[in-house]
Every structure is written in structure tokens, then in C-alpha cells.
């Protein structure tokens, strides 16, 4: 089992502290100068001391060439991205600028990995300050002479300290890479990544040496008062003078170091256009063009538009991806963050989100230029080395492994949209018929009967037979709330008792609600996720038609997956509704007094955020408000809210053979909850979760420790509506069988 990560707040504290340290440096430098440095008015140094005049021109010329070299690097990638389909990502500049500031400059997604975060902040700000310092020096030397006296000394001190911080950061990176070796870095063993790090070390060390030797030769004797303001340089200078180096020797050594330092720095800068360092630019660009809507609205992205080319659906060639997707594969720096919470990765499936992105990146680097060349000649034919992306480059089992839970996207520092690839790839596989027989049986059943359990649609409303009050048929009479019940909640015996509990609670609250009985069909959310776009459309059209014939004000759903489809995906087909999840309705009913708990519940519980309610649609607080109103003690799991860990049923996995070879995601999750200590109930708000986690409690053997309960089950308990006698575990599945007696 993965160890529960440290709580979010303590992580934030460390990151804030890091930032505070960074910000303190120039302030302390300024303060020090004010305190002691008033009599150092003529302090300063000769820029490019000991370096021939022609070298200065060579340096400037090199800089000009560098700009071209870098620009060419980006142009080459840009040409590759242009192979992709169009997609608009430049609306709402204000939002995008904000994202750039928070997540680009501010690196707002880094704190997920603490060590890496501190390491990266040191390197990043070290580099930024050193770069600014160099720019300032150029201005001072060539345009406006201002780095003198106390200003100069403050400047020196600040740069020295940031250089040192960068050195610490690089050191941390080397330790991580060569000693700690976290497995998620396995792909980052490319020479690019390693060379970059050693190059940075070389630049920093040689820079300090150049400085130190210069100070030894020019300051230590003449202006010892100044030398101390470059603390690192001063120490090095001391070492050289103690060793007895004379001025002539120092000048030679200085030149040698200088001629090492400058080319190394130039090489690093050139690399900004090509290698891993390009993430400075590409990452910013990707953050700027990120999807602004929540994950749930992802289908709105161009990558997932309805299929129009029936001969060639889904993703087979690079040209089937959008420019944005192609850009994204170039952004990835192989940090492995996407794998951290990926259920497919943890359960030992073939999929890793990072591997997916990297495979396409490598493929594009190899074959893309040939495609560009062919396109210049107006050719659309296959080029040498071209492979079918779905099924060949990315093997089918890898594509099917994904649970579409979105944990990868929520972690990526650069907002790579892994899911946008998944659905496109699956569309291709479905079109070719490369799918699990269990899945194809389910899809056949869905197209025939409108539900994923392959049962007669006439039985859809049969769960209501266990109620002692009638449930309105909204097709016959108007109701304020149209309850879209969903497949699992309607048919699965393990979920039906929860469904009846929802009905009883609604009834108790005096809610005016009804259901569509056999008029309701699966909303098709997961049908779309498995890539069966045509079937999704069929289901959506049928539902929209039936909904159009009913009179209601708001739709309430049990299933978060249904909620997502109705809310985010039906509008494109002409279905615009006011829609809420039952937890939202319960929160309202409790808060406006329509539901009055008869007692406080003293349970100690934890709450599992369903992927499609939380990450996809941002509903995190509402269910917690319900729990608060009931009085239970809520203990949060380490992976909660955006980091919630998938139950393993998403993305159509309920309909497929299990693919993982390791621990099931649901079992991993139950262990996490049990590890919290003394938690009686694992509270869920999704019918799929009920059956997934009940099963996991059994298979992990934690039946004594913890029981799975739907949130409405707790609400009902607090209301003391008459409930069928609960057995020791209080599991709804058990009470379901008791009901049928």
C-alpha cells in the first residue's frame, strides 16, 4: 500500500517557507547595506576584467546567433504541431494570464511533491535571478552606469546567495537522481536530463570560481571591505590566496575558468530551444493555452468532438490529434507526477500516463518531420516508419487500462490533458472492434435495452415496488424535480436499497419528484468514455427527446457519471437543463430545514470523493456540508478532493475484464481508510462506489473494521425514517436482501 502522503497544509507550509526565504534574500541584503555600507560609495568592478576586447565582441555575436538557434528549435516543433487539427485555446486572455502567473511563474502545481518542489524553486529562482543579474550587468556596462557603491554591493550579495541556492537545488536534484532514485523518474534517464543537470552544476561552479579568482586578484588586497559582500567568491578567493597564487597565475586561472564558464552557459541557453529546458517556454505556453473549464467539460475540447469522418474515426495518425495535443507531448518533462495517483499505474496495469505522452512524443520526433516534408509536397500518404497510433504505437491493452478518473491531469504541473488522448484512441479501437467481449456484450445490451445490465427496459422502475408510496411518472404528470436514476441505481440489487433510501428521504422532505420509468435510458457517460461515440449520441438523443416530453424544473441524479453527462455533454445535443446531484439537493434540504435530523450521529467516518462529482465537476464541499449537518466526525483521507483515488469502475471498467495484476484500486483505497484508524464508515455518493467498495471490504478482510455506506443512508438514519433493520455492518447490500424476504 502507498503510504498516505503528508497532509496538504504542512506541505504548503514548507513551500511558503521556501518562498519566504527566497524573498528575504534581497531584503536582508538591502538591510545589511543600509546598516553598514554607507561609506562604500566608490565600490564597483570592472566588467569583463582580464578578458580581451575581441572576446566581448565574440560573446555578443554568439548571443545573436543563439537567438536564431533557439528560434529555429521552436520553429521545428511548431511545424510538427501544425500537423494537428485546429483547436481554439486563445479566448479569455485575462484568465489565461492569471493561470500563467499562478501556475507558470508561481509554479502552483509543484507542491504536490515536496522535495521536488523545494529543489525546483531553488533552481528556478536561482536561475532567474542570475539571468536578471547578467542582464543588469550588460545594461550597466553598455548603456547606463549604475552598479556602483552600495547598489553594487547589494547586487553582489543577492546574486551570490541566489547562485548558492541554485547550487543547493542542483545538488538536491543530483541526490534525487542518483541516490534516492524514485521509480517515477525511470523514464527521465535520458542523456538529455542528466547532461542538463551536470551542465548546470558546471556553470554554477565555474561561475563562482571566476568570481573568486577575480576577487583574489583585484579586491582581496585593495578593497577588502567590498570582498565580503560576495561571500561565496570571498571564500574561494581566500582559498586561492592562502595557497599562495600570485597575480599572474590568478589572471591565467581566471581566463581558463572564464573560457569554460561562458561556452557552458551559452550551450545551456541554446538548449532552451531543444531539450528539457524548453519547458520554460513550452510549459508556459501550455499553461497559457490550458483548458479553462473543469475536467467534466473536456468533451467540449476539439480533440473529442463528435465523429464526422466515419471512415476514419479516432486517433490513428498524428494528424488526427489537435495542435494542442501535439504541443502537449513536447511539454512533458518526465517528472512522473501524473503517475502518483494513477490507479492503473498502481495496480500494475500496462498504462502509465507519462509513458503514453512520452511514446507519442518520441514517435512525433521521429516521424513528424517526414510528415511535414510530405505535406509540403501536398502529400497525405503514409511516410516511412509511420504506425497506427491506437493499437500499434500505443498497444490496445494500455489504452483500455485507463479509468478516466483524471488524477493524472489534476497533478500535471503543465496541465497536460492525458484524457483527451484516451477517448480518441479508444474510438479507433472500438471502430476496429478491438475490445473486450464483455464490453462489446455490454454495448450491445445498451444499444438494445438502454441499460448496461442487459435487462429489459420494462423492469427499470421495478425498484419502486419496494416502497410504500407511489413514485410519480414524470411522463404523465409534472413534477418539480425529475430524478434521473441511472442504470446501476435502477437495476443493480446491491444499489437498489440505496435508491429506495433516496426516494424515502425525498418523500420525507415533501419533495415534488418523479422518474421517467422505462423512458429513461443510460445517460451514456461511460459509453462515451469507452469511445463508442455513436451509441452515446443515440442514448443522448433518446433521453433528450423523452426529457423534452416531461414537465419539470430541475433534474436530480444519483449517479455522478450521469450528472456529468447531463450537465456537460447534453447541451451540445440540445439538452439544456438545470441539474444537481442528490448530495447537493440533500445539503439544501438539510440547510433550509425541510429535512430535520432527529439526532446527531456520533459516527467517525471518512468520505470518498467520486471522480466524476469531484475532480470532474468540482463538487467537493456539498457532500461534506451534508455530513456536517448530520453531526458525524469526518476524518479526511490523505488522498481527498482533487487527489481522490478512483474506485476502479470508471471509464467503462465496470464492463470489462479486470486488467490489473496488482492490488485493486478499491482495495488500496479501503486500506487507506482503515489506516486512518477507528473509522466506522466509508461514506460514498455514487452507486458504483457502493458495490465496488463493498466488494473491496470483503476481499481485504476488513469487514470488522469498516463498512461502506451511501451518504443518503446516513441522512436517513439521522432522520429516523423507518428503516429496515440494519445488520451489524450496516451495509445496504445486506439490508437489501433483508428487504426482499
Amino acid at each position: 500500500m502507498t503510504v498516505a502522503p503528508p497532509a496538504k497544509s504542512s506541505k504548503q507550509a514548507v513551500v511558503v517557507a521556501t518562498y519566504a526565504t527566497l524573498a528575504a534574500v534581497p531584503i536582508v541584503a538591502a538591510a545589511l547595506i543600509l546598516a553598514v555600507g554607507t561609506d562604500l560609495g566608490d565600490a564597483g568592478r570592472e566588467v569583463m576584467w582580464n578578458i580581451a576586447e575581441w572576446a566581448r565582441f565574440l560573446l555578443y555575436a554568439s548571443a545573436a546567433v543563439l537567438v536564431i538557434v533557439i528560434a529555429y528549435g521552436y520553429y521545428r516543433r511548431y511545424e510538427l504541431w501544425r500537423l494537428g487539427k485546429p483547436e481554439s485555446r486563445t479566448d479569455n486572455w485575462a484568465e489565461r494570464l492569471k493561470a500563467f502567473l499562478i501556475y507558470g511563474i508561481g509554479q502552483g502545481r509543484l507542491p504536490g511533491d515536496l522535495y521536488a518542489s523545494v529543489m525546483h524553486l531553488f533552481i528556478f529562482w536561482g536561475w532567474v535571478v542570475l539571468f536578471i543579474g547578467t542582464a543588469m550587468l550588460t545594461i550597466h556596462d553598455d548603456f547606463y552606469h549604475y552598479l556602483t557603491g552600495t547598489t553594487y554591493l547589494g547586487y553582489s550579495l543577492t546574486l551570490d546567495i541566489f547562485g548558492l541556492l541554485a547550487l543547493i537545488g542542483v545538488g538536491m536534484a543530483l541526490v534525487r537522481r542518483y541516490l534516492m532514485r524514485p521509480p517515477k523518474l525511470r523514464l527521465a534517464s535520458l542523456w538529455d536530463d542528466a547532461v542538463l543537470l551536470w551542465l548546470m552544476l558546471a556553470i554554477l561552479v565555474s561561475g563562482f570560481l571566476v568570481e573568486g579568482v577575480r576577487i583574489a586578484a583585484t579586491e582581496l588586497e585593495e578593497n577588502p571591505d567590498w570582498a565580503g559582500w560576495s561571500p561565496v567568491g570571498w571564500v574561494i578567493a581566500k582559498v586561492f590566496t592562502e595557497a599562495g597564487a600570485g597575480t599572474g597565475l590568478l589572471q591565467d586561472i581566471h581566463q581558463a575558468f572564464w573560457w569554460f564558464h561562458i561556452p557552458a552557459a551559452l550551450a545551456w541557453i541554446a538548449w532552451v530551444g531543444y531539450g528539457k529546458v524548453a519547458h520554460i517556454v513550452l510549459g508556459s505556453a501550455n499553461i497559457f493555452t490550458r483548458r479553462l473549464s473543469p475536467t467534466g467539460a473536456q468533451i467540449a475540447s476539439a480533440a473529442l468532438q463528435p465523429i464526422t469522418d466515419f471512415k476514419n474515426p479516432g486517433v490513428a495518425r498524428l494528424q488526427d490529434l489537435t495542435w494542442k495535443q501535439l504541443m502537449q507531448v513536447d511539454v512533458c518533462v518526465r517528472c512522473g507526477r501524473c503517475e502518483g495517483d494513477c490507479p492503473a499505474d498502481l495496480n500494475g496495469s500496462h498504462l502509465t500516463p507519462m509513458g503514453l505522452i512520452q511514446d507519442i512524443h518520441n514517435y512525433m520526433s521521429e516521424v513528424g518531420p517526414r510528415l511535414v516534408a510530405a505535406q509540403r509536397k501536398d502529400g497525405q500518404e503514409a511516410v516511412a516508419g509511420e504506425r497506427t497510433i491506437a493499437g500499434d504505437l500505443i498497444p490496445a491493452d494500455v489504452i483500455w487500462d485507463c479509468f478516466t478518473c483524471g488524477a493524472c491531469e489534476a497533478q500535471c504541473p503543465f496541465f497536460v490533458e492525458h484524457l483527451s488522448f484516451m477517448v480518441g484512441l479508444r474510438r479507433r479501437l472500438v471502430d476496429e472492434g478491438t475490445l473486450d467481449t464483455q464490453l462489446s456484450d455490454t454495448l450491445m445490451g445498451l444499444s438494445r435495452y438502454g441499460n448496461s445490465l442487459g435487462q429489459s427496459e420494462k423492469l427499470r422502475g421495478r425498484w419502486t415496488e419496494g416502497l410504500d408510496f407511489p413514485v410519480k411518472d414524470v411522463r404523465q404528470e409534472p413534477a418539480e424535480y425529475l430524478w434521473f436514476v441511472g442504470d446501476q441505481a435502477s437495476y443493480n440489487p446491491a444499489a437498489q436499497e440505496v435508491t429506495r433510501a433516496v426516494a424515502r428521504v425525498f418523500n420525507k422532505a415533501g419533495l415534488d419528484f418523479g422518474i421517467m420509468y422505462e423512458g429513461e435510458k443510460s445517460a451514456g457517460n461511460d459509453v462515451r468514455r469507452v469511445g463508442e461515440e455513436g451509441l452515446f449520441e443515440l442514448l443522448a438523443e433518446d433521453n433528450i427527446q423523452t426529457l423534452g416530453e416531461c414537465q419539470f424544473q430541475t433534474i436530480v441524479t444519483t449517479d455522478p457519471h450521469t450528472f456529468n453527462a447531463l450537465k456537460n455533454e447534453y447541451p451540445a445535443y440540445g439538452g439544456q437543463y438545470r441539474i444537481c446531484h442528490y448530495t447537493e439537493l440533500l445539503a439544501d434540504l438539510l440547510e433550509n430545514g425541510k429535512l430535520k435530523p432527529a439526532r446527531r450521529l456520533n459516527h467517525r467516518v471518512t468520505y470518498h470523493d467520486p471522480c466524476y462529482l469531484g475532480r470532474y465537476n468540482g463538487v467537493f464541499d456539498t457532500p461534506r456540508r451534508v455530513l456536517k449537518a448530520l453531526g458525524v466526525e469526518l476524518v479526511e483521507m490523505g488522498r481527498s478532493r482533487e487527489r481522490s483515488y478512483c474506485c476502479g469502475a470508471g471509464g467503462g471498467h465496470l464492463w470489462m475484464q479486470e486488467t490489473g495484476r496488482g492490488e485493486r484500486p478499491s482495495e488500496n483505497r479501503i486500506r487507506e481508510a482503515v489506516a486512518l484508524g477507528g473509522v466506522q464508515y466509508f461514506v460514498v455518493a455514487c452507486p458504483k462506489d457502493v458495490s465496488m467498495f463493498q466488494d473491496a471490504v470483503k476481499t481485504t478482510g476488513y469487514e470488522e473494521e469498516i463498512a461502506v455506506r451511501d451518504i443518503v443512508d446516513l441522512v436517513e438514519e439521522a432522520l429516523e425514517v423507518e428503516v429496515p433493520e440494519r445488520e451489524a455492518t450496516g451495509s445496504p447490500r445486506e439490508s437489501a436482501s433483508a428487504m426482499e424476504v
Partner: protein, 325 residues
């Protein structure tokens, strides 16, 4: 047309099949109703010896020919067509088996004889052939008749206890020479492919826990396996479970699988299609667990529970273990 009832004798590897005795059992009842004799038709390479076991029949007609040895249905069909043409019985009974299914329709067309398939019961009433048939996967019972006759019937396995067709007797045994040229048979036998050996032989198990499509996924098999282990039983299955390759073909019970007669057959999530039932209906004790009260398995089971297997099977395994302890 004579009033005789003819029965096709089926044999495998020198043994008469149970189906043969079932047909004879039915024939024994129907022949008097028709007012004719019960005639057994015995075809094969070297089959004269088998006639002794056909005591239930009044007459045994046998045909021996080298080309009838490999149970190529077309060869049988040609011989039978000639024979039935000459003898024109009132009713001919064929088993619903890999042989009978490849004969009945062809004879019906060739001899212009009406036929009824999926027969569970047969009678001759006022000269008409009346059959009760199990259609639609056992979901409907159809009573059909061939007014006056003559006709053919394809009889489902299990329509009659085999013992009713096993009786002592001394039928007249006559050899008949085929009136057709078997050189014209177009279908050629090339060989038999035996199932891979090495797995458990489910036909020799005392207790079988048998699992069907109701288990839904391969990963759920351990739930049932646990029960089998507790009972000291072997796991067998219906066809879909084998088709999905969740279990090897050697575990399949039914028409194209094995016929089993254990002391206990515990059917879990099996609907009880006729093709499955024919392979297990003679078990001493049949207990079925199925969530659908309409499932035809409850028609053959001695005890049944309309319940979710995922609920009951683990509880049952536990209960069995507790008892052992």
C-alpha cells in the same frame, strides 16, 4: 404406410448411448398407441452384436457397411432414406444429437415427411402424432401435431428415463442391404480430434459445483472455487464460461461438452438451457442458485434458491467449512 414406430439407434465407440434407450422408452409407449411394432434401426460398420441390448424393440433392422463406421451423417441419411421409403413407418424417432440433428431435416425434405423438433413428449392420438416441445430456450411449451402422419420427431435428451428403454427381450433381428450406393457420399471423414488430456475428469467426480454466465467475470471465479474447495468438489461450467476461456473445454457440461452424473450437481448462475440440462439432468441431486425465478434450471433442480449468487455462495462456503470444523 405402416403403423410402426422406428427408432434410430445411436452408438459411440461401440457403446449404445443413453439417448438410444430414451428413444426406445418413448417408442415402447407410442407404438401401441399407433397400433404398430417398435422397430430399432441399427446402422454401422460392425454392429450386429449390439442388437442384443435392444430388447425393448420388437424388431431390429441392421445395416452393416464399412462407410457407416465413422458416423458421417450423410452416409446414414442415404441409407435411412432408402429404408424409410421402403418401410414407410408411421413415426420415426431421432435423437437431438450431433448425428440426429444432421439427419432429421434432410429426411423430412427428401421423403416429404413433416417433422417436429425439440420434442419432450410424444403420443399418437386418433391417428395424429402429437408432441410437446420445449421451445424458446425452455421459456415456452408448444403442443404440436402432425395430423394423421407419417412423420419424424427429433427428441430432446431426457424426454424419458433411459431405464424404460432397457428391457430384456428377444426381438427379431434382420439384416437389410442398403439399396443406395454409398460411394456417392460427398462428405468424407478425416479423423477425430480428442480434447486435450490432463485436466480433471469431471465425469468421475462425486460432487460438481458448476458455474454459468451469472458469475459475470473471470475474477469472480474464486468465489465459486472456494465453495468447491470447501465441498471437496471439482468446478465445471456451462458453455459460455468455456467460450470466454475462463475454464478449459474439459470442464464444459452439456450437449457439446460432457455428460455428468455426480451425487451432487450445484448449478450456480446457470440458466438451464436444454443443451446444458442434457448433460447434467441425471445427477442424483441437483441444487440451483439463480437470481431469476423464471430460469428453466429450476425445472430440473431438486432444490432451488432464487438469490444472488454473490450473496449465497460465500455464505454457503462458510457454512460448509464451519460444519467441517
Amino acid at each position: 404406410m405402416s403403423q410402426d414406430v422406428f427408432v434410430l439407434v445411436e452408438h459411440l465407440k461401440g457403446q449404445l448411448t443413453d439417448g438410444t434407450f430414451e428413444l426406445l422408452g418413448i417408442g415402447r409407449e407410442v407404438a401401441p398407441q399407433a397400433g404398430g411394432r417398435l422397430v430399432a434401426l441399427l446402422l454401422g460398420r460392425d454392429v450386429r452384436g449390439l442388437a442384443e441390448q435392444l430388447g425393448a424393440a420388437d424388431v431390429v433392422l441392421y445395416v452393416e457397411d464399412e462407410r457407416l463406421g465413422d458416423s458421417v451423417p450423410e452416409a446414414y441419411r442415404r441409407v435411412l432414406a432408402g429404408l424409410l421409403q421402403e418401410q414407410s413407418p408411421k413415426l420415426t424417432l431421432l435423437p437431438t444429437s450431433s448425428l440426429g440433428m444432421d439427419l432429421a431435416g434432410a429426411l423430412s425434405v427428401e421423403l416429404n415427411l413433416p417433422m417436429i423438433a425439440f420434442c419432450k413428449q410424444l403420443a399418437v392420438q386418433d391417428g395424429s402424432i402429437v408432441a410437446t416441445c420445449e421451445l424458446y430456450g425452455g421459456r415456452a411449451v408448444v403442443e404440436a401435431e402432425i395430423p394423421e402422419g407419417p412423420g419424424l420427431a427429433l427428441v430432446l435428451p431426457g424426454a424419458c428415463p433411459a431405464d424404460k428403454g432397457r428391457s430384456e427381450g428377444a426381438p427379431a433381428v434382420e439384416e437389410v442391404k442398403p439399396s443406395v450406393d454409398l460411394a456417392e457420399v460427398r462428405v468424407r471423414f478425416k479423423g477425430l480430434i480428442e480434447p486435450p488430456p490432463g485436466d480433471v475428469d469431471i465425469t468421475r467426480q462425486e460432487i460438481l459445483v458448476s458455474v454459468g454466465r451469472g458469475v459475470q467475470r473471470e475474477e469472480n471465479l474464486p468465489i465459486v472455487q472456494e465453495l468447491a474447495d470447501a465441498l471437496g468438489a471439482a468446478l465445471s461450467s456451462s458453455r459460455p464460461v468455456v467460450d470466454q476461456q475462463w475454464l478449459p473445454p474439459t470442464r464444459q457440461v452439456g450437449k457439446s461438452g460432457m455428460t455428468v452424473k455426480p451425487r451432487l450437481y450445484l448449478a450456480v448462475g446457470i440458466s438451464g438451457a436444454p443443451e446444458h440440462v442434457e448433460g447434467m439432468r441425471d445427477s442424483d441431486l441437483i441444487v440451483a442458485i439463480n437470481s431469476d425465478a423464471r430460469a428453466p434450471i429450476f425445472n430440473v433442480a431438486h432444490y432451488g434458491a432464487v438469490a444472488d449468487l454473490f450473496e449465497v455462495v460465500p455464505k454457503l462456503a462458510e457454512a460448509v467449512k464451519n460444519r467441517g470444523a
